[in-house]
Symmetry: none
Subunit: 241 residues, 2 copies
DNA sequence: AAATTTGGTAACGAAATGTAACAGGCCGGG
DNA sequence: CCCGGCCTGTTACATTTCGTTACCAAATTT
C-alpha cells in the first residue's frame, strides 16, 4: 500500500487531502525543514510526496530539488497560482506532476494514482531500494510473490494481512513500532478506541514464524510500547547496524 | 531520437506542435483516425503519443484505453477545456499526463521530456517495434493471434474473455488492479451492485495457467483490493543480489 | 498483596473470496 | 429455422480472512 507524505502549511488542505486519500497510507506534516523530512522518509516508507510550493521563502523548490537529488521519490507539486513559469520551473526541477490550487480533490487523487502507477512499474524509482526479496534468520520473504519461505525452502502460507504485517516489521528492523503505527502501516487505517486487532494479528503471525510462540525470538513485545522485530541479533556474533 | 505521434484533428495544432517539437530533435508525425494509428505504431517506432481527447464521439478515451491495454506506450492527453471530469477520467484511463488547451508549448515540451525520462528508465514501457508477443514465466502470449502457448509450445485454448483479462494483467504486472479496473479494462463495462464476474473469470483463468490454482503464483488476490499479476521471477538458487 | 493495566489468544461472526452449477445469449452446422 | 456447443454473467454455498469480544495471565502499580 502506497505511503504518501503531504507537506503543506494549510490545515484545510491537509484535512481535505486526508479525507480523499483515506484509502492510501497518508502522512501529513507541516515539516518544511529538511530534518523532520528526512526522519519522516525513514520512519515511514514514503512512496510519494505531495509538496506545497508556497512554503516560506522558496524552500519549496529547493526542497523539491534536494528530494529529487537524494531520494528519487516521486513528487507532486501544489502551488497557489497557475502561472506557467512556476509549473515549468517545477517540472524541470524534477517534479513528477503539478497541480494548481484551488484544485479538484478527485483530480489530485487521479494524478496520485497515475504517478504511483508509474513509480510502481519502474524498478529504480520509489522508496523501495530493497530487491524483490528480504531475508531474516534463514527465512526468505519474496516481495514479488508475497510469499514466505522457511530455511528449507518450504513455503509457509501467510494470509495477506500476515504478509503485510511481516513486511512492515522487516522494513523497520530493531525499531519499536506502536500499535498505531503498525495498524497504519500494515492496514492503512486508524485505530479505534479498543482496537486489539494488531495484537491478534501478531499472535497469528508468531504462531507461524516463531519456533516457540510462547517465547518469541523474532517479534518481541515491548510493554506499553508496541512490538519490535529483531532479526538474527541472536548471539555475540551480532553483526548489526 | 524519440519519435512522437501527435493525434489531433486540428491541423493548426498539429502544425504548431510539429514546428515546435521539430526544432527540439523530436520527430513528429500526425495521424487522425484510429486506422492510421495502428499502422503508424507499427511502421514507426513511436515512443510517445500526444492524443487529443476532442475526437469525434468519445473515441479519444476509448483510444487511450485501448492503447494502454495493448501497447503500453506513454500517452499525453490534450483537451480543449480544462474540465475536471475529462482530465480525471483521462488520467484514470491510464494517460501518463494531461494538458489543457490552450497550452504553453514550453510546458508541453517539459512534460514530454518528463514522460520520456520515465519511460526510458522503465524497461517494459515504450514502443515495442516487432514482437506483438509478451511472455511470462515461460509462457508466450501471441497478441496477433490472441493465442497462449505453454512452455513446450502447446497451445492453451483461451476464450476471448480469458485472453482479454490475461492481456490486461500482462500489461500491468506487479500492480494491484481493482475489480472495477479489471472490469473496465478487460470488458469495458461498469460494475453492477453485486458483480462477481471478475472473480469467476479469474478463477477460470487460473485453472488454465496456474500450476496449482489453489496456490496461485501468477495471479494473486489482494483482499479488499483486487488482483495482482506477478510474472514469476523465480531465483530458485536464492543466492545473489 | 490487592488492584489495575497490559498482553495473549480462543472463539465468534461479518465480510471477502473461490468456485460449482445454472441460465441466457450467440453462433455455426444441419 | 432449429439444435447443440461454447461463453459468460448470476447465484448459491463453502471457505478463508480478519476484526471484535471475552477471559485469563503476566506485569506493574498502589
Amino acid at each position: 500500500m502506497p505511503h504518501i507524505l503531504v507537506v503543506d502549511d494549510d490545515r484545510e488542505i491537509r484535512d481535505l487531502l486526508g479525507k480523499f486519500l483515506g484509502q492510501h497510507e497518508l502522512r501529513v506534516t507541516t515539516a518544511a525543514d529538511g530534518v523532520e523530512m528526512k526522519k519522516a522518509l525513514e520512519d515511514w516508507n514514503i512512496d510519494l510526496i505531495v509538496l506545497d510550493l508556497m512554503l516560506p521563502g522558496d524552500d519549496g523548490l529547493t526542497l523539491c530539488r534536494n528530494l529529487r537529488a537524494e531520494s528519487d521519490i516521486p513528487v507532486i507539486m501544489l502551488t497557489a497560482m497557475g502561472e506557467d513559469v512556476d509549473r515549468i520551473v517545477g517540472l524541470e526541477m524534477g517534479a513528477d506532476d503539478y497541480i494548481a490550487k484551488p484544485f479538484n480533490p478527485r483530480e489530485l487523487l487521479a494524478r496520485i494514482k497515475s504517478v504511483l502507477r508509474r513509480a510502481q512499474a519502474m524498478p529504480d524509482r520509489g522508496a523501495k531500494p530493497e530487491g524483490t526479496a528480504a531475508g531474516f534468520a534463514g527465512w526468505r520473504l519474496d516481495m514479488d510473490k508475497r510469499e514466505l519461505h522457511a530455511q528449507d525452502g518450504v513455503l509457509v502460507p501467510l494470509s495477506g494481512g500476515e504478509y503485510d504485517l511481516l513486511a512492515v516489521f522487516i522494513s523497520h528492523p530493531g525499531r519499536v513500532l506502536s500499535r498505531d503505527q503498525l495498524l497504519d502501516l500494515a492496514r492503512g487505517r486508524e485505530a479505534q478506541p479498543f482496537d486489539r486487532s494488531i495484537d491478534v494479528q501478531v499472535s497469528r503471525l508468531r504462531r507461524k514464524i516463531e519456533d516457540d510462540p510462547k517465547e518469541p525470538s523474532l517479534i518481541k513485545t515491548v510493554r506499553s510500547g508496541g512490538y519490535m522485530f529483531t532479526p538474527a541479533v541472536k548471539f555475540e556474533g551480532g553483526e548489526n547496524r
